[in-house]
Symmetry: C2
Subunit: 394 residues, 2 copies
């Protein structure tokens, strides 16, 4: 190959990144441009075997301009994407300036192609895995020496909860104090291997009403709820400490009780907003009732629910309790799609005496179940650079 520049040359990196479910919720921004939160949050990363975003970032002199494709459809690069790309380019440019032998990738147009392996209609936020994958893919493409924590600050500008999807296992995201956001970053609290038995059952409801987006909803809450700052300032800091202790000690009862409390207090703030925001509906309440019955029957907290900005329940349990938690839902929702994968094969239906109205609400409203587990952080799938110079597999 000649030393002349090949204008058709394409450099690329492909990664996958996970979805996460917050158990101490992020709700409220102190800076909307930088996605700086009003309180710290904590999440469990979901296994990419079940749910992930796969993103290829590429750059080439042959591209006309920066572009984005989501699930095969061209998509405009909104300000949040542009902000992430600008930060990543600046880091690459600094590398190139320090080492003039590096190929000048920062100047090349970027092409981002992203695809979720789960339906958007699952009600699981794809923005977290999406921005985590984008940031990690471009960082791989640019061979940036940035740590996941540093990348989490960039992903955060794209979508707050994406900061936590840079990590596997059990991740925190610190509120931070600084106005520029330099200390508002995610961190690996515990790896998935610390507590690998964590499982999740997602109940995906049909007839999902048009929700208030979380971006819009949280700012309504900040602006109007009289209870908002009390949670953010007084309640969450203590809950963060206790949640990290619960995970550290692998204490499911403490983990579950805190997760349910914090989910409920988040939805309480939504209800306290003007106008009130309702994400939970009768199907959500039916899931809460079943979890209550499961725990009552067990005599301890073996199941815990959490709800994000929508009606779908995420139910946490440990693998050892799969039959008396997921099995109870299977006895109610055995006809509902989603039980037929590898994970479902291990779950035996288990019958509990459940209120008839609760059963019929779940049967008529849940359209699909998803079984998943705690999992790993982003994975570098492939890097194609000029003789491997542009990047390498992490």
């Amino acid at each position: 190959m000649s030393q002349e520049k090949n204008t058709d040359e394409v450099f690329s990196a492909t990664v996958t990144a996970p979805v996460n479910i917050a158990v101490i919720k992020y709700w409220g921004k102190r800076d909307t441009a930088l996605n700086l939160p009003t309180n710290s949050s904590f999440s469990v990363t979901l296994s990419q075997d079940d749910l992930c975003t796969r993103t290829t970032a590429s750059c080439s002199r042959s591209y006309a301009h920066d572009s984005l494709e989501l699930n095969d459809a061209p998509c405009p690069l909104s300000a949040r994407y542009l902000a992430c790309l600008a930060e990543l380019r600046a880091l690459r440019r600094a590398l190139e300036q320090a080492d003039p032998t590096l190929p000048e990738l920062a100047a090349l147009p970027l092409r981002i192609a992203s695809r979720n392996n789960f339906p958007t209609a699952s009600g699981l936020a794809s923005s977290a895995s999406g921005f985590a994958a984008l940031v990690r893919a471009v960082a791989d493409l640019y061979a940036l020496p940035a740590s996941p924590t540093e990348l989490s600050r960039i992903a955060r500008v794209g979508s707050g909860s994406a900061s936590r999807s840079l990590f596997g296992g059990y991740a925190g995201w610190a509120r931070g104090q600084r106005a520029d956001g330099a200390d508002s970053e995610a961190y690996a609290a515990f790896p998935a291997s610390h507590w690998p038995e964590m499982r999740m059952l997602v109940l995906v409801t049909r007839d999902r009403k048009k929700d208030v987006s979380s971006t819009a909803g949280m700012q309504v809450t900040v602006a109007t709820s009289d209870l908002f700052w009390h949670r953010a300032d007084k309640i969450v800091p203590e809950r963060m400490r206790r949640m990290e202790e619960a995970v550290r000690d692998r204490d499911f009862a403490a983990f579950g009780a805190l997760a349910m409390r914090d989910s409920n207090s988040f939805h309480a703030l939504c209800l306290d907003s003007v106008p009130p925001i309702f994400y939970m509906d009768d199907a959500s309440r039916a899931a809460v009732a079943v979890v209550g019955r499961i725990n009552e029957a067990a005599g301890e907290v073996v199941a815990a629910y959490s709800f994000d900005a929508g009606p779908n329940a995420v139910i946490f349990y440990l693998h050892g309790n799969r039959n008396r938690v997921a099995g109870v839902f299977r006895s109610i929702l055995g006809e509902t799609p989603g039980w037929d994968g590898e994970r479902g094969k291990k779950i035996e239906p288990s019958v509990l005496d459940i209120n008839e109205g609760t059963v019929s609400t779940l049967q008529s409203r849940v359209k699909r179940v998803i079984l998943t587990a705690v999992g790993e952080g982003p994975v570098s799938v492939e890097v194609k650079g000029p003789n491997g110079v542009a990047g390498s597999k992490h």
Copy 2:
């Protein structure tokens, strides 16, 4: 008639007392025996033309013991009834001791017969009108010179919200500071005549699930909600001031906005309880959505909802806005019973563009509407004493 005691002689007094709907909610007791609240509250008294309890209190040497009959069924005298009767007897005894010519009624067995002119299934709390009627009937029977405020302290021990049903119009109930409850009493903030245009539409839902009773629910909230004391201590005092100003100024927009906020924050506390308490359901949320559309169409707050410890919406509006508020519900719920009375005749259906799911939820879940208005306090119907000595009509 001889001066010998006629052992069959029956002294009696009959009163009616109203239901009230709190617009600043009572939720939480600082003393469960005395029903001392954790925060002040404020209510609108409902017209007895539509909803009331009618109670006859009688006493006679011929009665074997104290007894209670509710809606024609014998009912045990629980501790709350006994506490009210003991206080009233003590007041009568003091009168008799001061004036030995008075008949010795305090020593006679009492018979209380109480009946609601509205179905229990209406979801409207009958304990407020019930205890207000009981206390006022016995006070009439005993010819007690006690003011409604004094009687409100006695009724409060029976049922907290009963304290406010001793008054018509717009009534407050002060939290008070004293441990013995001597300063926790209701008061007439404004008479019904001050703002007689206030109207209420109650949407009574079918398939009412078994609720957590308000007595049990509020104590779960006090014990477990991390948001509870913030509302009680920090939020409600300011809301009480603003609510009294709104009624004073006959400012419906301010009244309605506050009523909706406070209803929502009360239900937020319920949701923040462990386990969470859900009183609002999908039918409640549909009512909230319609009120939102009505106000949006009006460009101002002309309708306001409030929910007590159950899913039934109470919707406030002014008589002048009856068509654009109640009329919108009539256009949706025209087939639902309850529109055919005197009040309904004045309401023309009014069509607004409402989400189809909201309409079908209301049509399938609302079984009855009740139209009512602000009204007067307890009414003394009849007193039958020895030559009128025992009491007189107030």
